[in-house]
């Protein structure tokens, strides 16, 4: 490695110090987890401050700090701007988060909603998409950890990657979603402060004029406002982000975990605060040609430029910021994917009669299993971060319309959602290979829309009360587990943990 700036001892010390901090926080925060709601959903009462912090920190992933620079390095200014359009996913999810809390106050996962709203076939396709995405995201996070540590300190990729995955798994196991959200708050502060300091250092060291002159001479397309691939990338990345947020249990679990009335404000503020971060990260990458930094792989551009530009102090700052971003996302995806597998596969398919205690034990083993699989798939370093991430776009963007229409309208049946997700994914993957990574999500979203949108002209068929009926049964099951016997007091008809309003009941068709 040419740009080793951090002595390995310093790098390991930073990893050790922050690992101890996250592990300590995870253990201390999670020590009072009393039941499954505490472990999986932080007791369903997270306030606005923590809600904004966890949403923003989770969305600032290693991809934000390393793939955004990669895309700026490959696609220029529009690549940078296009990546920042990922904030639209958080902004558009804000009203949906409120809606989710209203109609499923005792829900656990996004899979719960799809199963109840659209039936089992659509549910299984949705699970396949969601799990494929989650695994892809986890691998990208694992890889980013290894790449970061190797680029800045020369420590072999596999060692850094292993340690980061192990630490994040440990504190997620200890504390569940409470620990995840608590550590996210601290990590959010580190990220915001670090990015501001880095931005000031970059502008002081390399002026805008130098960047412009060198790029115009050596890499003219990076400044070209009519760069075709970059133009195609803009809305592709927007819909990729929307698909990620709309479908992923990472965001649904937070919608369930936030206190009533918090979700809308939290997601709006998180989207706004997140927007400038990929712009700053992307600008760092555009200074690489000015500094004469050689980039062996595009996803290494950010740490290489930082170590060249800032020396040891700056390298430490970048290391801390990216480690915080990594940890804040890796723990969230581990926890949310663990929830999804526990509730929708373990309980939904294998052990429908599992008690809450059994589910809590299963959740821990499942999180451990996911981290091992992630480690194993991260070892070969198969692709760049950007190409791996964008491949997932073909999958997740197909879920946008089934989710949006399913939450807000009583129209559209399971067969429509199934077709939308299946066809969108298939044609999105075809577009990925036939044209390029910068159109896969957009094609997937277009196909999904063409299937789902016409359902808005069909009669209302779904009864919102169906969501409560099934959750009512779950609540009575929970009481049985807690008491050791079935509750004898009958519940009033239509009672649940939250109001639905005065929707008139109608026959449920097509289920």
């Amino acid at each position: 490695m040419e740009y080793v700036t951090l002595p390995p001892g310093v790098a390991w010390s930073i990893v050790a110090i922050f690992s101890l901090v996250w592990l300590g926080m995870g253990y201390w925060i999670g020590r009072n987890n009393a039941d499954l709601d505490d472990y999986m959903l932080a007791g369903r009462k997270v306030g606005i401050g923590l809600a904004v912090a966890t949403s923003m920190a989770t969305w600032v992933t290693s991809n934000t700090t390393m793939t955004a620079p990669q895309l700026a390095y490959q696609l220029g200014l529009w690549g940078m701007v296009g990546y920042s359009l990922g904030c639209v996913g958080l902004l558009l999810f804000a009203p949906l988060a409120r809606r989710i809390r209203e109609i499923m106050p005792q829900g656990y996962t996004s899979g719960d909603f799809i199963r109840l709203r659209y039936g089992k076939t659509a549910w299984r396709i949705f699970l396949a998409i969601s799990l494929a995405y989650s695994v892809g995201w986890l691998i990208s996070l694992g890889m980013a950890g290894g790449i970061l540590i190797e680029a800045l300190s020369g420590i072999p990729y596999i060692y850094g990657m292993t340690v980061i995955i192990a630490v994040c798994t440990a504190y997620t196991l200890f504390g569940g979603l409470k620990a995840v959200i608590g550590t996210d708050f601290v990590q959010c502060i580190i990220i915001l402060v670090g990015v501001v300091v880095l931005a000031v250092m970059v502008i002081n060291r390399v002026g805008f004029e130098d960047v412009h002159d060198v790029l115009m001479r050596d890499r003219p397309e990076l400044l070209n406002m009519l760069f075709p691939a970059a133009i195609m990338f803009l809305f592709n990345n927007l819909f990729f982000g929307v698909g990620e947020v709309f479908h992923s249990n990472v965001w649904w679990s937070r919608a369930f975990a936030f206190a009533p009335g918090v979700g809308l404000k939290a997601y709006l503020l998180a989207g706004i605060f997140w927007l400038p971060i990929p712009i700053v990260a992307g600008f760092i990458a555009l200074t690489a040609p000015v500094l004469g930094v050689n980039v062996p792989a595009a996803d290494m551009v950010a740490p290489l430029v930082a170590s060249e530009m800032f020396g040891t102090t700056g390298a430490i700052l970048v290391f801390v910021v990216v480690f915080a971003a990594l940890a804040s996302s890796l723990d969230s995806v581990l926890a949310a994917t663990g929830d999804l597998i526990t509730k929708d596969i373990y309980k939904g398919h294998l052990r429908p009669g599992a008690s809450e205690r059994e589910l809590r034990i299963a959740a821990a083993w499942i999180i451990l299993g996911i981290s091992i699989v992630t480690w194993a798939l991260s070892v070969p370093h198969m692709a760049t971060l950007g190409s791996l991430l964008q491949f997932m776009g073909a999958f997740v963007a197909s879920t946008i319309w089934p989710i949006a229409i399913g939450l807000l309208y009583r129209k559209g049946a399971g067969r429509h959602a199934t077709a939308a997700m299946a066809l969108g994914t298939i044609l999105g993957v075809v577009a990925y290979f036939m044209i390029g990574f910068y159109v896969a999500a957009l094609v997937s979203a277009i196909v999904s829309m063409l299937v789902m949108l016409p359902t808005l002209w069909l009669p209302d068929t779904f009864d919102w009360a169906y969501l409560q009926e099934n959750l009512e049964a779950k609540t009575r099951r929970k009481e049985h587990d807690d008491l050791g016997s079935w509750p004898t007091t009958p519940r009033p008809a239509g009672a649940g943990a939250g109001g639905l309003g005065s929707h008139s009941a109608s026959r449920i068709a097509g289920r």
């Binding site: 040419e2 558009l92 209203e102 075709p228 595009a298 760049t384 990925y432 277009i446 005065s502």
Partner: protein
Amino acid sequence: MTRNLTALLMLLLAHGAEIGSASATELLMTDSDFGAGYVTLAWPGLGGESFILQEKGGTGWEALYKGTSTASTLTGLSNGDYTYRVISDAGRTTEPLDIRIHHHSLTRAFGFFGTGAVLLLILLAVIFVGVRSRNSTV
């Protein structure tokens, strides 16, 4: 299509194994998209301590990079034909590698852009109307 199938291969196979099987004097493309103007060149088996990556220009070979890395990513390339080679301090030289950058057409680009813009407007309308409808019945 061939480029993108190669990308699929990369997703499925170990990166190191692919490079290890190549000839020592071969200049490899380990990541590329000619429609987006970028390519990553690698020379893992050339031998030597330092290397010079050169591009063939109007006046002969011009150095793009000098150092100890065995790979380099070139981005922001305009349409045209490019030829590259690498020389090591051990006196070895790779075979010249020719590539052709041909960006996607602006018609295609704006077609996708326009479609994306319309899609976003429709999504905003669906969410806005749906939220208002739900609020009015609660």
